[in-house]
Symmetry: D2
Subunit: 339 residues, 4 copies
């Protein structure tokens, strides 16, 4: 049994991670920590874990977690992860960081996250943990930068077109709609039920901190610069993202051809499903799962391909994908504990 | 035109008050203040007010508000109102306080709100502003203690039985379900969309600060001590309360007889509607209105009368009722600006 | 007082229309009809109307409505309106049709609504009732085709760019998010709470029946063919639409310049508000109002203008706009009964 | 591996059952049927099942299901189950019926479900499948009447008091709040998002078809007649029930004593959790789980015990409990596939 620690076990992502790990047949959770007032049984904090786990969530203590565990999940706010990851890395532990701290190049990080990066060594080790794209690198990685939720939905949704050189890299729009847990569990009037319910809004157009991550990953696939117009929206749901992606095609392709391209691209992927021509996904198809489901429609006159891609932000967009990465890193079956 | 000021214009109640007053044909809003970072047009803060009002919300300045206005609404947190009301009262202004500060007797207040009362003089002047019960006293009042949202739904729902000596005062249960705006606009994880949505909970059983207010008002009606078992619940809606009230009857009465009693009790009330036997209200019947709609069912075998009473917590439960009180105090038509 | 009839008073739009008309100072509602089982007081069907109106909703009888009323609102399903409108038109009554029956040219209608048009004469009379664009024609119209909800949000959002020849007509995407009442009050599993809540979906991409209406109106403004890529989405809210519109600019313009253009275009409009640079609207800004609020952001590198435009689908998107049209047709103040 | 069939696989309960069974380590699903237009892969109907199961949902064919499977789940509307169960019973298959058809005595059934019972033999065999109460009988049962969702929350919530003769059987009120999936997946305006969202209502007071089931089971526990005042409410959530139960105590007992009684009563139960004094459950504690979590508060002056009991209506209230029963009947670990 792999001994794992979750650092930051009480946020929305941490809670989901504990839920998945507690039922994972190859894993033993040996340490849970979080910034809480006093140690408390995790199943008292989250009674839905009752019967799945019986364990005290302790106050943060990286040294102790490093002694107990061989595999570490960091479910911490950005800027905090890069302070703590080195403690585990220098002890040769494997680490999956769910924050943004290891996803971007040093200078891009500094620009978008408002702080100089503090762990250049870690940054060099880090592999971007999108298994459908980077599976081979993930296998041998010691440090995974687990992707953001928006980027997961968008990069998976656009990857086949860019990888197959079928997309006009000058023209990509991602109009994404996200539930509220994507913003984390924190006291904020703007996240209050009275503000979010029966409302909708776009925010941070082209200024969202996930923008550089989306651009970086699509650029790697396209082997040239891609700059997505990224417009995130907040919708009154608890969990889930649905991204509607508009990509101009380099040459004429009908819906059937693009669906075929996507089906081929993802044919061996256990967590990606491409719907038949004429079908579109809905968020409830993926709620609570590690799936990404997508539907495709080409506007032939305009030469525009529209991909609707949906994930659960807490599973495929965070905790589920982290466990998928762990499975790959440890040689477990990739779907273990996730289906 | 009556010159009115709203002190605390940016909470959920304050916003609703401004919306109603802005369209009120007998009123001119002359002062809006709130604890905000800097003065700002109220229609910029709440664009839905566009076209209804064009006015700057200023920083708190009671002296100035008192110079400008003749009628003052205090939409402030409890404990704050009693510090500020005297400024207006000593200048002979009429005041409606929407907090709990003037609703209870001194000692009861201290016990439930954790602070000694600081305005004994005001407390003596204050009239409990439930028009269906206290209309005559309200007409000549200088200071109104505007009722709480839960008490409004429960006292109106139970009043006819108690007033007509038909209720067993030893046995009343109020199982109330409230939307989230009842808790005010504030940063609190427990009020976050991710916590409230797809959840339900009971809280503060018999310990809610509205308990003494409910008991006090029903006791006055019954002319003997009434102690309600009060169980509030939080439900994932933005606005509204539905209270299911269980009252044991002193003597056998069928549903038809109780409906008749209620219809008679409220026959001239513009804002109370008693449904016919066999019908039950739903919250959407009252959303955005100043109505209280109720349905009645008697369990004859048990001698138990069940009243379902529903209001919008921001209108009849707060701002609408305050304007109804103002209308009465100023000799306007009682429904002015409210229908 | 203008004598008005509402034909189809019990759908979501009809209910909202009755609510607005009941409080309108220049109007007397003289006839309400709907396909219901038996005549019933409208305030019993919708208790929230209590105090605003006291009137029986009768079974459909166009002849009788024509005798009683001088101004007729048809809140009927498409294909039904064109059967009934002639009854009123031949008696020289003024008619506002809230269905799609008089919005499109004959052949386009037949193609998108699956039925030959049956009232060629009416079609000739009809004026598309978007006041911000067609106010002068509306003044003298006898029959108004009241715009659809999606088209209102999109045409208003894109009009200044097209009217000012600043838009590349080959490239417009409208990614719209709508609440559920847009689909009408009807029994349909897909509209059930259990299906819609905690879900999101895109549907009818480029196949929505509002597509030709959007294209037709923008083409008129642009004086050349415009074909919008229209992607509607269903979101779990009751009322409201937020459309995110992507328009390629013909020549470089910054956000400030476009905001200025929009402010000028709408400077005298009582129901349109253009937010300052840096601000974006949210649906709650317009809920329950007849407003359209929009925010603008230009991606200068891409030469792409992003407009976020939001309305309440039942007011500015249907009943409110109908009353605005009535006000214009009858020489009332345009905001009468709406603010 | 146990070969199981699900008859009625496409309702909310059927879907949940398939989800649980697909991941159950001791089970092989061999037949899925439903009244659908044409056979279709279940993972196409419910993409969230992708990877968990790959199977066609066929049209109803009881004979065929009986040939293929040894264990049958009937997730059918009431009145339909009793027509089909005999097909399986006479072939000595084990059956769990999730409808109401085998829960009540013949005459009580006829009264509440408006139809004479058609399977007297089956009724004689049937065991009421509430494991916490009837575990021993379930072990050897051939036909289980799986409990209703409301009754599960209420009977579990009140059982310890009645079993320990601590409750006044003349006085029990159950004020229950339920999500929408409890009403099944069907086209009904009253279940539409536009009707349910931002609303609340009580319905069928003392007339809900679950009333006799609640009374029957509590009466068995109390060994005397219990008649609960049952007031169900509809709240805008997808799944879950929270019941607030008011029971008069026969003799004075404090909260601590009752909590102790409950903890003892449920001490070995894997799916019931009694919270410590001072704590109350929320629905999110149980969403997606097979748990029943409860909190207790005694009003000592009134001699009234208030129990708040919450379950997920689709798991512990239906499909999860059915699998729990299957586990017991087949000698599997009781929590297998459920935690």
């Amino acid at each position: 049994m792999l001994k794992v620690a979750v650092v930051g076990a009480t946020g929305y992502t941490g809670e989901e991670l504990v839920r998945i790990l507690a039922s994972h047949p190859k894993v033993k959770v040996v340490s849970l920590t979080a910034k809480i007032d006093a140690p408390e049984k995790i199943q008292d904090l989250y009674p839905s874990l009752l019967g799945k786990i019986d364990m005290t969530c302790e106050l943060p203590n990286a040294e102790k977690a490093a002694r107990l565990a061989d595999f570490i999940f960091l479910a911490l706010p950005h800027r905090v992860s890069m302070e703590i990851a080195p403690v585990f890395l220098k002890r040769k532990k494997k680490v999956i960081d769910l924050s943004a701290d290891y996803r971007l190049k040093k200078d891009v990080y500094a620009k978008w996250y408002g702080a100089a990066h503090k762990d250049a060594a870690g940054l060099k080790l880090a592999v971007y943990g999108l298994p459908e794209i980077n599976r081979n690198k993930i296998k041998t990685a010691r440090l995974i930068a687990n992707p953001g939720c928006y980027p997961t939905s968008i990069v998976l949704g656009a990857a086949p077109l860019f990888k197959n050189d079928a997309a006009d890299n000058g023209f990509v729009i991602a109009d994404s709609k996200s539930g509220v847990t994507g913003a984390g569990r924190r006291a904020d009037i703007a996240l209050g039920f009275g503000e979010v319910n029966e409302s909708l809004k776009a925010y941070k157009i082209n200024e969202h901190q996930h923008s550089p991550e989306i651009n970086q990953e699509l650029s790697k696939l396209a082997k040239k610069d891609v700059a997505v117009v990224f417009v995130p929206h907040l919708v009154p749901i608890s969990r889930g993202i649905l991204s509607t992606i508009y990509v101009r095609l380099k040459k004429p392709l009908g819906t059937a051809r693009v669906v075929e391209m996507y089906k081929k691209f993802y044919e061996n992927e256990p967590f990606v499903r491409v719907l038949e021509e004429g079908k579109l996904p809905q968020l409830k198809d993926v709620r609570g799962t590690n799936l990404c489901v997508m539907g495709i429609k080409v506007d032939a006159k305009k030469g525009l391909c529209i991909i609707v891609s949906t994930i659960d932000n807490l599973t495929k967009g965070a905790a589920g994908q982290a466990v998928q990465n762990m499975n790959i890193m440890c040689g477990f079956k990739e779907t273990e504990g996730l289906i």
